[in-house]
């Protein structure tokens, strides 16, 4: 089962997600990136039905880009979150997207922010959030150790604590994770946490 979680720090926000792509009992790949970079200062970590996840996050990413092209200014994180929620809500009673989303962003005027958007279009602005079976462990660890205005180092320490719990306590635990960060300098990949690396393949 997929895990996505995130938290807000002093002037940044972090989103972490597992990187397993699973179909029934088969692991397709162990390096699937589930955290989409929406624009220069927004991250969208998503979990759920694989096809829906890719489709919906790309749809949101392209709409965010279109807004900026049309209007010359980027969407705020709050506006992007509300737009995303609206799209989920509109589809909900006809053809729902089975995707859970953690949207993190940095706005110059308001700083870092994090939004929890579940597949039935709930929207919550939060300091910390998590989805999936891993959320039982991630939320407990964050509830215990999270403080407001943490530094990047302190936040990564907490993220690693969460990953450790998920790895050790979840029966089918995802082996690898990706961590992305967004701050005033933009959204970017921060690190990978890999416990299983694919063996190097010999060339022909």
């Amino acid at each position: 089962m997929e895990s996505v979680f995130g938290l807000v720090g002093k002037d940044f926000a972090i989103v972490a997600a597992d990187t397993s792509a699973v179909h029934s009992i088969l692991v397709h790949k162990t390096n699937e990136d589930k955290i989409m970079i929406l624009d220069s200062h927004k991250l969208m970590g998503a979990s759920g039905e694989t096809g829906d996840r890719a489709q919906f996050t790309e749809y949101i990413q392209k709409n965010v880009a279109l807004y900026q092209f049309r209007n010359g200014i980027p969407l705020t994180t709050a506006a992007a979150a509300n737009f995303t929620r609206g799209e989920l809500a509109t589809a909900l009673r006809k053809n729902p997207y089975m995707v859970n989303i953690i949207l993190a962003g940095y706005d110059k005027e308001t700083g870092p922010s994090l939004y929890y958007i579940d597949y039935i279009a709930s929207l919550h602005k939060l300091d910390k959030a998590a989805f999936g079976y891993g959320s039982y462990f991630a939320l407990s660890m964050m509830d215990r150790h999270y403080r407001r205005d943490m530094t990047v180092e302190e936040a990564i320490e907490l993220v690693d604590k969460c990953i450790l719990e998920i790895r050790s306590r979840l029966v089918i635990a995802p082996p690898n994770f990706v961590i992305k960060i967004v701050d005033k300098d933009g959204a970017r990949e921060y690190a990978w946490r890999e416990s299983i690396k694919d063996a190097p393949v010999a060339a022909a």
């Binding site: 209007n71 200014i73 709050a78 509300n82 737009f83």
Partner: protein, 248 residues
């Protein structure tokens, strides 16, 4: 004259003109004028009322100024019934945006959206263009106070000062001379009154013939205030445009 080409709204004339659009602008040229002036601390809109009657229910009837959203208002020149349709469309577009994004719609995007609506009537459907020009005044966090003018062709522009309706060219040239970039809201009100008094056909001015509105910030909120008649009268008296009444 290519009269053959002007009954169909959505085709060009051989000279490359859209006659129906031009005729719409003619109609506006006969309507009551409106002037907008962008100041450092707000936007001023002033309009000339054409329907003047003692029998008008003034508390409920507004002729020139309309609020589109909390942060955007407009002044109108042209066919009032056409204007009502477009004002409603603008209000809808603003609320749709706020519903989707939970944020106020940026002013230019609202003007652009309405202008796109107007443009549609110059290209398809076989319907005539709207006989209305607008002056949009508003505030948003991206560009602060803004003033836009839009016409029946669907063209729009951002202005520091603009005039629509009767004698707009004369008004525009006076504005070009007297406008300065650092004008305050108070000075803009006086300038607006002065320009309108010079371009209006009426021999005397009183508060019944005018509508004045200001857009400004108060405690972080955008305020749209239509000037009450007694305050407007005082402004006119101070500007020397109306003789003070006997019982002042």
């Amino acid at each position: 004259m290519s009269r053959r080409y002007d009954s169909r709204t959505t085709i060009f004339s051989p000279e490359g003109r859209l006659y129906q659009v031009e005729y719409a602008m003619e109609a506006i040229g006969n309507a009551g004028s409106a002037i907008g002036i962008l100041a450092t601390d707000g936007v001023v809109l002033i309009g000339e009322k054409k329907v003047i009657s003692k029998l008008l229910e003034t508390s409920t009837s507004v002729e020139k100024m309309y609020k589109i959203e909390d942060h955007v208002a407009c002044a109108v020149a042209g066919i009032m019934s056409d204007a009502n349709i477009l004002i409603n469309a603008a209000r809808l577009q603003a609320q749709r945006y706020a519903y989707a994004y939970q944020e106020p719609m940026p002013v230019e995007q609202l003007v652009q959206s309405l202008s796109d609506t107007k443009q549609g009537y110059t290209q398809f459907g076989g319907l005539r263009p709207f006989g209305v020009s607008f002056l949009f005044a508003g505030w948003d966090k991206n560009f602060g106070f803004q003033l836009y003018m839009s016409d029946p062709s669907g063209n729009y522009g951002g202005w520091k000062a603009a005039a629509i309706g009767a004698n707009n060219q004369a008004a525009q040239s006076i504005l070009k001379q007297d406008y300065k970039d650092d004008i305050t809201r108070e000075e803009a009100v006086q300038l607006a009154i002065k320009v309108l008094s010079k371009t209006m056909d009426s021999t005397s001015l009183n508060s019944e013939k005018l509508e004045l509105a200001e857009i400004y910030l108060s405690s972080g909120k955008v305020k749209f205030q239509i000037c009450p008649p007694d305050k407007l009268n005082k402004l006119l008296v101070n500007a020397g445009l109306t003789p003070p009444s006997a019982d002042a």
